[in-house]
Assembly symmetry: C2
Homo-oligomer: 257 residues x 2
């Protein structure tokens, strides 16, 4: 259903502000896929008619969604739905740079393996799927500057990625999140990472060509979509001799609405 045909119910007597109601309605349209990644959304004048509010209220609602990262406004052009692609990937989810440098380069990605198997208990729990469900387990190698430093293990539910196989995964033209988005209609909206230092085991040592027991940065990432539905578990094993994980922030930034 097109968004311009929708009937939106805005309650002028509600205690929640109009702009927030509209923000939520637009958010739901994203969630329900009435507005798709990359798509041009109706212009402000049309939204005014659709919601029967003033343009200032529309701009406030759209502005919040823009700050949240769901929409992108372009002056003279229109407002678009954010999409995962090779440009956005770089600065969003890849947090490594060569020692001492700030500039984040695009990593080289090399496929290692693709398996489909039964989820372990903890894997099933993290993905919130029934115990014993099928999952895809994918290994990748990531590098910077012609050397590989990172092993990525990706775990996703088979059910949510119907038809996914090694060929499709390997032949994707863009990022992994772009594949999720375009082929499987799953849009990753947020990630949470937990970092630890561990000793490398035999498998990791071999894959990264380092000594057994070397200190390794282990990153557990949970990738979620709308309404905090967990889609992906990704574990990164990083040899941090030449590269480092970067995390910058401003005063209270990050905790704001």
């Amino acid at each position: 259903m097109s968004i311009t045909d929708r009937k939106f119910e805005i309650d002028r007597d509600s205690k929640t502000p109009l702009w927030l109601q509209i923000r939520n309605e637009l958010f739901n349209s994203l969630y329900r896929d009435e507005l798709r990644p990359g798509q041009l959304i109706p212009n402000e004048k049309t939204l005014v008619e659709l919601f029967q509010v003033s343009i200032g209220t529309i701009r406030k609602a759209v502005g919040v969604l823009e700050k949240e990262g769901f929409l992108i406004r372009k002056q003279g052009l229109g407002t678009f739905v954010f999409q995962h692609d090779s440009n956005s990937f770089l600065f969003e989810y890849f947090h490594f740079a060569l020692n001492g440098t700030e500039k984040q380069e695009s990593p080289t990605v090399e496929f290692i393996s693709f398996e489909t198997k039964k989820a372990s208990k903890s894997e099933a729990e993290s993905l919130n799927i029934p115990a014993g469900s099928s999952i895809h387990k994918i290994y990748n190698k990531l590098g910077l500057n012609k050397k590989f430093y990172i092993i990525d293990k990706i775990i996703i539910s088979q059910d949510k990625f119907h038809g996914l196989n090694e060929e499709i995964f390997k032949n994707r033209a863009n990022t992994i999140y772009n594949l999720y988005q375009n082929k499987f209609n799953i849009f990753i909206t947020n990630c949470s990472e937990k970092l630890k230092a561990i000793s490398s085991n035999e498998k990791i040592s071999k894959l990264l060509d380092i000594d057994l027991g070397s200190p390794i940065l282990k990153i557990d990432r949970i990738g979620q979509t709308y309404h905090n539905e967990t889609i992906e578990i990704r574990t990164s094993y990083v040899h941090t001799s030449d590269i480092e994980y970067i995390h910058s922030q401003n005063s209270t930034f990050g905790e704001a609405l």
Copy 2:
């Protein structure tokens, strides 16, 4: 000089929008300490008269500074300058939680040592001070749940913290950044952290009561004030058996203006 006595120069013919000019003027007032941490800033009506623009333009400028974390608006009360204190500390700069938990508890902090010495070449370089200048080197121990997991090494220039000594540091009533802010008029506005996995050396092993060579998370943090002036170098050595470093984010959040 009080901000209400200042003469602000707003250029209505400039290509930079009024709201941005005003945002910058207010930012400079923060930088120049005409507006101090915790202070109530003039109300919107006063700002309208001060800058001779409409209230919408003022609200836009203040709104941006609020999003950036420099101001905090309270309906019915006024707008205040953000300040470092024990409440804000928790969720801003401490990124650890016990394994599996999300909730961030306040860490226990225990003083280890306070030294004043000559800066090494790399320390001087990082702090952007002349080679051989005096610095303070402070060690702390941080813990959660009655166990210590973190050793913090803090390095600051003696020049910028005139009169600081062990007693003053130990007897502070609040956070370290609060001490900088209130006693030395230095306001930390942003931090950048770089993480690595290393093997613990003898000193760290002893301090954290762990085996020599255990994998350790090493965090190099640069604390800066207005205009990216580096104030503090902090290195954390973290034993991540029971705790983990947490980093969450939304789609494009973090890269927005």
